[in-house]
Amino acid sequence: MAKMMSFLGQKIMIGELVGDICYYNTALSYQSTPTYFDPFKYMQDNGGYPGTDHEYRFYDPSTEDNDPVFSITILYASDTLVRVGYKFRSYTGGAWQPWPVTEPLIPAWDDGYLHADITNITEEDRWRFGLWITYVSVASEYQPYNVGDWGFALFHENMYRDFATGDPQVDGAEFNDSLTPPHYIPGSYQTIYQMFDHLGYQMNFPGFGEEWMGTLMTPIDGPEDDDSSPAGGGGQYEFPSWGIGISELPSINIIDSGIATMWTPSPAQVKNLMHFLWSDDFFDNIIKLVADPLENIIQFGVVPFDLSSWAGTAKEVKIGNVGSGVTMTPLTEQYISYDMGSLSIREAWGNCLDYNNTKVSVFVPYVGTFDLTPDEVMNCDRVNLRYNIDLFSGDFIAEIYVKKRMPSGRYLGGDGDNEVPMYHKSGNLMTKFPLTGANYGRVYTSILSGAANAIGQAAGGNFLGAAEAAAGAVLNANSVPVERSGQYTGVSAALGATAPYLILTQPVQVKPGKYGKMEGYPSFITYQLGTLEGFTKVLSVIDNKVSATDPEKEELERLLHEGVILPERD
């Protein structure tokens, strides 16, 4: 069973260890009672190096295929261990090969990680090998050697597998990329490490097998297992903000494409066109490209504002390439911006009541009423409402831009003349008219379905201009929520108000005269008392250095907490 552990502050996933573990050095073997182990003395007494060997078998638990090992990385940390050595033996020809009689190999040193290529074994045998880890020398200045812990983390890397991404088992095997030679692929799927305590006893880990009889000592755990340690406090105390920019209109539109022409006709011009459509001339002369000549009329509706600012030069309307003889003014733009202007709001009380107990709502035509955050709009430079409208469909995005200096001193959206769109609501403001009975039936059905889904969404594009349902709830002293608007669907949106406005619900502050002398105002600032005048209530004395008796000091602090009256200073 894999287990997440920490070593040197890095999370390491312990893979599964399969097989038996053999102790080569009985000095570190099964001990029911831990005894002190002096590695330096052992070296002196035995002329050799104590260590342990372990048999490692690596396999892929998902496929149960043997996983060949091409290299190992030994990670160690110790304040007593100076150099680490290892011996390697292979399992070939159906048997374990003997340990080399040579001195322990000392792999290349690289920032606390030791690399070793496993060579001279066939590929089919690479999945199982014995590893004997020892120490070569111990720093004499660290006597006695029971100080500190030393341990090994063993990574096995498989150059044929890239577990760099997407493999959850890789996530635990993170280590410094700088120590990875090109042919190693870091973070292979199994990482096993052995931990030794300062007495030289190996630590017991679940899953290592029942023959494991090492004594569990204090493991080297990561910060999350240790006592709490100092953290934080390194904030930059900066609150930069950057401009978002005004929402741009699309640069190309249906007018540019030539697919359609948009007009802003007068009522009389509309009547004349309808007269032409149903005249004999129309049916005699129309090139019958479509079954229903009225299909040349893509859509027809009304918007609640004057379009003369976007009107071009009047010209004849052609229906199905047939001149109608009716002159209308074409629109030059499909997408327009309609600015409702800006306003600013000032605090009423200049204190927390302007924010905690104040509610700001906004009524946006064709959307409804919704809440704004007082923090964004109170004492702002300006609040601006702007519609970006598609005159083809009648759909719009209503955006509320805010320019305000924040308590940090920085402007929302950065310094300069930047506004930030803080609220976005969509809807449809065009009242559309069907031209035939069939057309009416089609749009009426879609209106019903649109109305059912209109809550919180814009249902636009059909006969009846629809708008988003919104509710501006106001909590009064009795905490009764109030709905200022219901569901804006159907023709109600067109029949409703068309002037946007803010609604401020502000508390009525009650404050007696000489309140400062009686109660004071909230401070939470550090001052030297000699710089203050008047009623002062102390939260805490930073360092009570008054040369008074203890009872007097206690009484002094009590009086300061209750509030004292400091004299006027010259």
């Binding site: 030539g258 697919i259 359609a260 022409t261 007009w263 802003t264 859509q299 027809f300 918007v303 504002f305 004057d306 004849e316 052609k318 074409p330 309609y338 409702m340 202007g341 204190n351 927390c352 009541l353 924010y355 083809f392 403001l429 009064n476 002293a477 009795n478 068309t498 002037a499 946007p500 803010l502 609604i503 401020l504 619900t505 502000q506 508390p507 009525v508 009650v510 404050k511 400062g516 109660e519 105002y521 909230p522 401070s523 939470f524 550090t526 030297q528 008392l529 203050l532 008047g534 009623f535 002062t536 209530k537 805490s540 930073i542 008796t549 002094l556 009086l559 004292v564 009256i565 004299p567």
Partner: protein, 151 residues
């Protein structure tokens, strides 16, 4: 020891009491009653009518100022029961203390945007509306007609 008797009108919470010639009632010689404490002493003085108009004393020998809690008389001797005024007695040192201030009289020393439950408000609210400068004008409504192809 010398004991100065004053008649002060300052709030007990005031750091500095008004001690001057107009508040001074008497300067008497007295002694401390046996087994008295320096914090709640009892002083003994000769009878003086000025003592009865006093509510505050200064005992230079103790380096302290005291509130008079009680005056008892017995055989031409007056016994003044007092409690130390730690504020006045250590006012110079108190002025040097650095403190985190919870509340202060002067707004320039405060942050009124701190959430403060001490602020009271009515159950009623002021509600007002602020219109944007511009609006949709249905009286200027416009038809929008879209036809296929170019005209």
């Amino acid at each position: 020891m010398q004991i100065k008797f004053y008649k002060v009108k300052d709030d007990k919470r005031a750091l500095i009491k008004t001690l001057n010639s107009s508040t001074l009632q008497a300067t008497l010689t007295g002694s401390i009653k046996k087994d008295t404490s320096i914090i709640d002493p009892v002083f003994e003085v000769s009878y003086s009518a000025d003592v009865f108009t006093s509510n505050y004393i200064h005992v230079p020998a103790f380096g302290r100022y005291y509130f008079i809690n009680n005056i008892t008389a017995s055989q031409q001797r007056l016994y003044i029961a007092c409690h130390v005024d730690v504020l006045m007695s250590y006012s110079d040192q108190i002025d040097t203390l650095d403190c985190v201030i919870e509340r202060q009289e002067h707004r320039s020393r405060c942050d009124e945007y701190i959430n403060d439950r001490a602020y009271m408000s009515e159950a009623r609210f002021n509600i007002r509306t602020i219109p944007f400068p511009h609006k949709f004008n249905k009286a200027s409504s416009s038809f929008v007609l879209t036809t296929g192809g170019e005209s």
